[in-house]
Amino acid sequence: MRIPIEKDHNFISEFSNLIHSPDQLCDWKLFKQSYQIAETLKIEDFDTLVSPKFLPHLTFLPHQQKCAETVIQEMNGRALLADEVGLGKTIEAGLILKEFLIRGLVQKVLILAPASLVNQWALELNKKFLIPALTAGKRTNWQAANIIITTLDTAKREPHRSAILEQNYDFVIVDEAHKLKNHQTKNYQFVQALQKKYFLLLTATPVQNKLTDIFNLISLIKPGYLGTYDDFLQLYRDQKKEMEKDPYLKQLISKVMVRNRREDTGIEWTKRKVETIWVEFSEEEQAVYDLIETIFQGVQAFSSVTYKREFCSSREACYLSLKKWLESSESMEIKEEIQQVMARIEQLPHHAKALKVAELIKKSDEKFIVFTEYRATQIYLQWLLKQEGIPAVIYRGGFKKGKKDWMRQLFQEHAQVMIATEAAGEGINLQFCHHLINYDLPWNPMRLEQRIGRIHRYGQENDVTIYNLATKQTMEEQVMELLYNKISLFENVIGQLDQILAKLEMKNLEKEISQIFAESNSAGETKIKMENLSSVISSMVDEQVGETS
């Protein structure tokens, strides 16, 4: 076959012009140095990664290096990276980017990351990979920026949108690929329209559940690889096939997707120790809890589930929420009763669970991260800990970038405790801490895994201890006993859970549980329904474990 050969004709005219200008000429030593540099930097062969040699201060894990090799050599730089949380997808993407930069295949790069991760990307690329990446500001000049990090939301908004779509990117990385599952969204169409040579999608939420999700993601990476949307639907929807059960499809997908799981990495992960700490309400507290239950029992339209849950967390959370209900509700039905409850809440002493947390932390010199579902609880806990002489910082997903970084640093260097709400589950790494308190349990095990993933990830050198607090004789006891303990969720890595839930056609476990509580007429009924739910889940966990091992 004939291969086009480009020759450096410009050099010939440059040479003829400059050979007569002595000040443009160099001496032998410099001439030789330049040649030596070229010899040193040349890419010896097609396959071996050259970038690790340029990053002597980094050690890559075998699965990370393998991932970069696979993406570059076998997938030609277009792939879906779907490692489980905490295995270092950013590191893998950084290594791939570095390799392409060194090989001179890539100059212009666009990275789209969640707002909470933009700074971390910049930090990792600059500090670890020595890649001069910038974060986008208000007046970013997209044409001049060579390696730039921003959010999908910023990028798809005018005036940025048009400017970005005009650029020829050599490499685009999207680190929020779950936002691209639906091909009819603006997000999807924007990313599809980007001009890009190499392309990586990163996701921690495995997408194998819904075949159309994975179809859409893969069609961004390699249009046509899985056929057209209609072809695909016809083939797979009709037969209700699942990817796991279709070896052909599975194999196809494995050529554009890298998915490492903890157990495949061969790394010794530190252990998880789980401790359940039971709390008992004081008599007054128990009375208020029961009162909330009774008040709502007669009312068909409202359920006490939310308020009871809040009450288990803190007086404040429940109080504020009841107050809000009073202000917005038009029904007069139980107004008086609610006001009565609120008055009784005002009289309560400190919350039993909060006191327990303070006691637990006080006994230790270690750092703790405490997760709660409610902001009111978050602030109350901070105040209570302060009374006990324990310095604590708070952290929320809604904080601005700078504040988040600052809080993380305060926690690392000064405070003993970080109190975070759910939104903080994604995006920060806190490997320096190895004690986690679930002040209240989320009813969605995936969220629980994300919480734990903040500290139990690569780089954690200690065993991780997880304390779960639950209040006796409340819904918490039921969720703990009937759900979490039954499916031994804490010990298992939850990787497969979302697949199981999908099989059960149960997208939102949290809703499911709320419904069980709301619709059951007696404690006995709740118990039976919860037991059914957990036994189904745990039998599927067993099945899954059997399949994969």
């Binding site: 076959m1 291969i3 086009p4 050969i5 480009e6 020759k7 450096d8 050099f11 010939i12 440059e14 040479f15 003829s16 050979i19 443009q24 000429l25 160099c26 001496d27 032998w28 030593k29 410099l30 001439f31 030789k32 140095q33 330049s34 040649y35 030596q36 540099i37 070229a38 010899e39 040193t40 930097l41 040349k42 890419i43 010896e44 062969d45 097609f46 040699k53 340029f54 990053l55 002597p56 201060h57 570059i72 050599q73 030609n76 730089g77 090989r103 020595l130 001069p132 599809q192 329209a193 001009q195 890009k196 040579k197 069609s219 390699k222 249009p223 046509g224 690889y225 056929g227 057209t228």
Partner: protein, 266 residues
């Protein structure tokens, strides 16, 4: 001619650039930069602009480097093969050392004639699914057309200088340097035509496969024809095999008859 001793390389570089070495140990190097290097490396254009405006000389900075393979916990800047500083120095050298005109130093009082050689260092870049490079140093004698490979190694032991020694004189080329370049490119083309191009067939096949996929994917949707063109362009850019011949640097070298005889017979 790979660079193996980075410390020595940097020491040589700064010395060639007339920078005084202030302190040096096995793995550290502190140099006083000249104004030129300060401007090239220290990234402070406003300082120099300001000094020039004020009619002041300005004080170039000094650079304190740690050249060991390990990062040390001290004030010195760690320089290694991936570090931005070294990249900067490399590109400075590559920019300054594109072209040269050198004469072999001769001694004695005998009249000596010097014969012209065109030396061209070429990087061949192979773009397939991946990329690799191959480097060759070619010397072309511009009187009789002798062509040699590994020319840099052959020149390395010679005393070469920017000015001609007394009593030496040059013989004018019979082959013009520009035609010399064409001969050298010609040589590469012939050489390449005998190489096994399996990598190019691989890339071509991958390209063909992806092109078919694209065609199928977009076939049922005429609205997306722009997108199809764009994707196709990008696939080609990624996979179309090609070779590029880039000149690293080149020079005109005048060498004595003795040297001519000895390097040709080597």
């Amino acid at each position: 001619m790979k660079l193996t001793n980075l410390h020595q390389f940097l020491h040589d570089f700064f010395t060639i650039q007339d920078c005084a070495v202030r302190e040096e140990t096995e793995h550290t190097l502190e140099v006083q930069l000249t104004r030129e290097l300060d401007q090239a490396l220290m990234n402070r254009p406003f300082y120099w602009h300001y000094m020039d405006k004020m009619g002041q000389q300005g004080v170039p900075m000094s650079l304190s480097l740690n050249t060991s393979p390990e990062k040390l916990d001290d004030q010195k800047e760690w320089i290694h093969f991936g570090s931005p500083r070294l990249q900067q120095i490399f590109s400075y050298i590559q920019d300054k050392a594109r072209i040269t005109l050198l004469y072999e130093q001769t001694d004695g009082e005998m009249k000596t004639s010097l014969l012209p050689w065109l030396v061209v260092n070429v990087k061949m870049e192979y773009f397939g699914k991946q990329k690799k490079d191959h480097i060759q140093s070619i010397g072309l004698q511009l009187i009789n057309g002798t062509m040699l490979t590994n020319m840099m190694l052959k020149l390395d032991s010679l005393p070469l200088q920017r000015v001609m020694s007394d009593y030496s004189y040059t013989i004018s080329p019979l082959i013009k340097p520009s035609s010399g370049f064409y001969r050298i490119f010609q040589y590469f083309e012939e050489k390449l035509s005998n190489e096994d191009m399996y990598w190019a067939s691989d890339a071509q096949k991958a390209l063909e496969d992806e092109r078919k996929l694209l065609e199928h994917f977009f076939s049922k949707n005429d609205d997306l024809s722009d997108l199809y063109e764009q994707e196709l362009y990008r696939v080609k850019e990624r996979l179309e095999p090609k070779i590029s011949l880039k000149v690293i640097n080149a020079g005109l070298f005048y060498l004595s008859e003795n040297t001519n005889a000895s390097i040709i017979s080597q």
